[in-house]
Symmetry: C2
Subunit: 578 residues, 2 copies
Amino acid sequence: MDTILRIDMGANGGPKAHEKPLGEYAGIGGRAMTSAIIAREVPPLCHPLGEDNKLVFAPGLLSGSAAAMSGRISVGFKSPLTGGIKESNSGGQPSQMIARLGYAAIVLEGKPKDDTIYKIIINKDGADIVPDNSLKMLGNYDLVGKIKKECGDKIACISIGPAGEMKMAAASVAFTDMEMRPTRHAGRGGAGAVMGSKGVKVIVVDDTGTTTRTPADPEKFKKANQVFVQGLKKHPVTGEGLPAYGTNVLTNVVNEAGAYPTRNFTSGRFETCSRISGETQAETETARGGLATHGCHKGCVIRCSGVYNDKDGNFLTKQPEYETVWAHGGNCEIDDLDAIAMLDRLDDDFGLDTIEMGAAIGVAMEAGLAKFGDSEAAISLLKEVGKGTPLGRILGNGAAITGKVFGVERVPVVKGQSMPAYDPRAVQGQGVTYATSPMGADHTAGYAVATNLLGVGGSVDALKPEGQVELSRNLQIATASIDSTGMCLFIAFAILDQPETFQAFIDLINGFTGQNLTADDITALGKSILKKERDFNARAGFTSKDDRLPDYFIKEKFAPHDVRFEVTDEELDQVFNW
Amino acid sequence: MDTILRIDMGANGGPKAHEKPLGEYAGIGGRAMTSAIIAREVPPLCHPLGEDNKLVFAPGLLSGSAAAMSGRISVGFKSPLTGGIKESNSGGQPSQMIARLGYAAIVLEGKPKDDTIYKIIINKDGADIVPDNSLKMLGNYDLVGKIKKECGDKIACISIGPAGEMKMAAASVAFTDMEMRPTRHAGRGGAGAVMGSKGVKVIVVDDTGTTTRTPADPEKFKKANQVFVQGLKKHPVTGEGLPAYGTNVLTNVVNEAGAYPTRNFTSGRFETCSRISGETQAETETARGGLATHGCHKGCVIRCSGVYNDKDGNFLTKQPEYETVWAHGGNCEIDDLDAIAMLDRLDDDFGLDTIEMGAAIGVAMEAGLAKFGDSEAAISLLKEVGKGTPLGRILGNGAAITGKVFGVERVPVVKGQSMPAYDPRAVQGQGVTYATSPMGADHTAGYAVATNLLGVGGSVDALKPEGQVELSRNLQIATASIDSTGMCLFIAFAILDQPETFQAFIDLINGFTGQNLTADDITALGKSILKKERDFNARAGFTSKDDRLPDYFIKEKFAPHDVRFEVTDEELDQVFNW
């Protein structure tokens, strides 16, 4: 990881790749890298789909090493959805492979002169940029199938579907998993649209001839990794709940807490949610010869993923995540797992953020375009997106645009990005994160659900405003750091609760890099990332007024707890005042 | 004008009207009134279509009097298009009639509990609010026809078409003219959507039994009015150009100056613009038995309007304004006056801002939805809006949304509102107004074209940045004042150039109100209005970053003068630093 691969898609004479030394970007990875490059190099008022925006792929600091859980990749850009800086994060195989190829980042820059689309093949000899219009408008599944035929199955793909080519603000970038399926996505914020605007359909990553990155202190690293893995296996969330039921273990938990946003955030309990719970899902998967436990990348020891087969036992999609099951499920009053799995498959194939799409369909249902609970209608609406009809383009640009176009008042977004599967009135710490994260409404940016509902990292009453600002602040700082290591965020459950696992996490970094970082350094890193991101957004025109929930979350009571969001504006403005 | 009529559409037990004393709103009219009420009473972060927004109709200070040109009405609201404060301004009959009824403002507040729609009949006995679902989705022409049958032809209507009912952000509010046709519109910013969200289809104004408002000093007032009218008749713009050819006299002038935005702002000259010029238009109107000279309200002495008949000599629409002819014409490479007149008629009937619609169709053409120059396609696209198809809803929400939904990079908007018929690179003073006006890109907010291109009020080189900030500042201040008097903005040509006409304008106000205002007081009023508007926008989250043109106006050279917008950000930030 000692160079940055910069690919100028707008170069005179056609796209060109250059390897550049790290320079001031030395020693950082993941979100620290993407946010540093975007904040420094992208004009904050540029058009997100214009030549001045950049799309940065950065493996984490530990990616490509033998450290467990280190396969996450960060994707950075100015977001067409929020208008602010974005780091969208994914699992899958490419992070480890890019890191082993020696790239600390791949940066797509500029914009082609015409509408030719390109595939970029990256291997140990460099990058080859090939125009290939035969790939136009292929779904991610067909695309990856075609690439597999051309390049074999030892590679990994980073790709966009039709949604990205059509530059929809809900378009994702897909990353192939261990089975070379395009099931892992940098979903949020429209990374796919930016990739589409650069004319890049797919980046093929081939790490043939490379080896695992070696630590500076192999002994310390190896030992830390052992303790770290033990810690993950010991913790009830990472060692039991997630492996057994996947993230969807949360459906019953969040619903029980009255925080499950049902029918476009109008109630906190979904009457028939047990039909789509993680428990039911795992049972269905197992019965059909799928998998209830499965890793999304090599080196994962939590294995919260799975394989969802159709009724005939054929692969349909990866195990839909909790937020997907909620977005296409309870949020639209849909309690049919097969329909939800089909929607997940279509999202993955078209290249769409499942959260944004579920929220957009929920808003469309509120607008009267379909009835809540009508899963056939939801599937039809999603197919419009893939076809790029006017209705599909509306939905594919997300919940905020859908609300504007259809004149809907109740639209659950912050900074233009839809809220995920936790109502901010019934999980007020999460509401603070939604309101204040530089990313827009995002659960992973500061997952207060952990402490508000799951009792991880302490306990703060989910229904009260007290303590939520401090909770969200600390989680946002920690998350920014973790997102820079390449580590899956789910390690947070174990490192928040188990001091020895936290120490092992720090030892892993120090063993790998040869540094002597302390917990304070990790905190300082997180703060510096958030500061860069906030500064970019301020230069893009964001103010404290953008750090607010839509007013109906403050005005309307939410059942069953009859609670409003009660953290005041003044308190919200203290989140980054550390 | 000694009370405010407040109509609470959300009252328990159904909508209710109350007459309230003026209180702190005493002594102001028009834009001063609407902006004072909105800035003080509407929460800046409320949803524009929600119960907390208000829609304020305010006649000018001189409306209802015998003062020439005093028939303008201001419509104030938080804009669904820009998210900021809005004053949208119209001619027609209602202003004079509302003023004579004694109302300094009519304020629609709250929101009905269901989707019933209402007509409100206002006469000397007060307001009657009648549910009438038979009016649903009527075009403005059919609606006014129906009201005429019910209420006779001595009344005036303030109404919305289907676009307003569908809460489109480009929806206008229509005001009937002297012939009781819905041809005058508060077009910009989505006033119609706010009226739709209040469930109000039409306000019928009946001033039977009222008399012209009497001045405090009748002699002074009468004399001032005479000098004022003489001044208007003497000035070449208000006495010759506008009466003879209407506002469309500008087509040849602006095109000649290389400032006529052609094909979605990609060139400053439209090759065949003479086919749609004011001269050609007037000739066509006269030949078909229409009118090339006509007033939009009683008391108008400029008479820049007209009547455009179809080929068979039947009324089709009022004389399309310059900005309409440009928006549906050159901006879309359309040089067919009949097609443009049809588009104008459809806009008026559906209740849409002609500028925003032309700009949206231009963006749609850039996105490939139709070919530039295809007038049939433009008409089809506009009909989609009236029908409320998904495509129609996209376009009906304006150019910015159309650009977002179709992933277009070159979208000529500021604060979400489309630019009108003058390219900011070739009329740089106008660019300063577009960038900085609290209203979004707006020509009337500070019409620097006058000085940049027409030599009115001095001379400032249109192609250079020097002097533009001061010019725009002074014009924005003067405009805010004029918009508060009920005077048509076109008086500015004469009062800027002729000191005695300016004095007559001040004498008119003083003669009517019995005050002793000076020119400094007029300036102070304008500043105070702009300050209130800017403050509202700041509380709604606007910053200096919203006072910018899209970056391509700074990056791309514009033919034929090969000029970029060169006023710097630092200079723009000085516009309101007086």
